[in-house]
């Protein structure tokens, strides 16, 4: 019983941080890998090629 409650508590306290981390992570990847604004594209150019993102 106690274990179950503890698990539920951990799951509850973990959801918001996990969601936040996923959104932040995907946001960073979109910026470094996909956004075509020329300043970003030029700065990330070599990385996009080397990391397998579609570049230009």
């Amino acid at each position: 019983m106690t274990t179950k409650t503890l698990k539920a508590s951990v799951a509850g306290s973990a959801f918001a941080p996990a969601l936040f981390a996923v959104v932040l992570g995907l946001g960073i990847i979109t910026l470094t890998g996909h956004v075509q604004a020329s300043a970003l594209h030029d700065a990330a150019h070599d990385v996009r090629h080397a990391t397998g993102f579609p570049c230009h």
């Binding site: 409650t5 973990a14 918001a16 992570g25 090629h49 080397a50 990391t51 397998g52």
Partner: protein, 248 residues
């Protein structure tokens, strides 16, 4: 029992704050470390191939002309363009930190379902991550050197994103599905994007010798796999050590 349950429903409970810092700290450490190593490996093994390709992209070198072209032209020395290389290092570290944030959040979900997360298990996570974001899309959209013909970048980005999403779900099903149906669905998710097909150029216009293009793709995959294995192992390690620190 009651205080624990209440604690879980309150938005910024101490447990939530601890989780926040544990996720962010382990992802930042893992992403920065794996990203730095990946960037250095890329500078040594991938960048010279890319710079070589750019000589053909810009027309400075032309092959299949009248005369034989040396396969060993004078390439710029490493760090000849420091700003460009430093930007590459920063963006590689950022990219792997982004991956780490997603991976650590998923690791936490898996741990919540009773799967142990350690540095050793992290190696498997890393391989799964490499397959998801690098190899699965790269199987049909091969890592490309500058100067090759390719379809519209927007169309390729949509295909890339859909393929990565499908491969990610497939990897999770293979790892944690635990039954035959999961494996069958995973196989379908892995195959479908390639059966549908990636956006392809209408005509070929590549100026870069195929030898350079092939070496670039192989190097990009190889360094990518090394970086991802490190990222998984680091993420597992820091997730565990940050957890131990939080409990202490």
């Amino acid at each position: 029992m009651t205080p624990l349950t209440m604690c879980a429903t309150r938005p910024a409970s101490p447990a939530t704050k601890t989780m926040f810092s544990r996720i962010l700290t382990s992802a930042l450490f893992a992403g920065a470390a794996a990203g730095l190593i990946a960037a250095l490996l890329q500078l040594v093994f991938v960048q010279p191939v890319l710079l070589h390709a750019e000589l053909y992209e810009t027309g400075e070198l032309v092959h299949f002309g009248g005369e034989a072209i040396s396969a060993h032209p004078d390439l710029p020395r490493m760090f000849a363009e420091p700003v460009r290389d430093i930007l590459s290092i920063v963006f590689t570290m950022l990219t792997y930190t982004g991956y780490a944030l997603v991976m650590v959040a998923l690791m936490m979900m898996a741990e919540g379902q009773g799967h142990a997360i350690t540095a050793r298990v992290g190696i498997l996570w890393g391989i799964a991550g490499f397959i998801t974001v690098h190899f699965a899309p790269g199987l049909s959209l091969a890592p490309e050197v500058p100067g090759v013909a390719a379809a519209d970048v927007g169309a390729r980005q949509i295909w890339w994103t859909a393929t990565v999403a499908a491969a990610g779900v497939a990897m999770w099903l293979i790892a944690f599905g635990g039954n035959l149906i999961s494996i069958v669905i995973a196989a379908a998710l892995l195959l479908a994007p390639h059966l549908i097909g990636a956006p392809e150029p209408d005509t070929f216009a590549g100026t870069v010798p195929t030898e350079i293009g092939a070496l670039f793709a192989a190097r990009a995959f190889g360094i990518g796999m090394a970086a991802w294995v490190l990222l998984g192992a680091f993420a597992g390690h820091f997730w565990q050590s940050e957890g131990a620190r939080a409990e202490a």
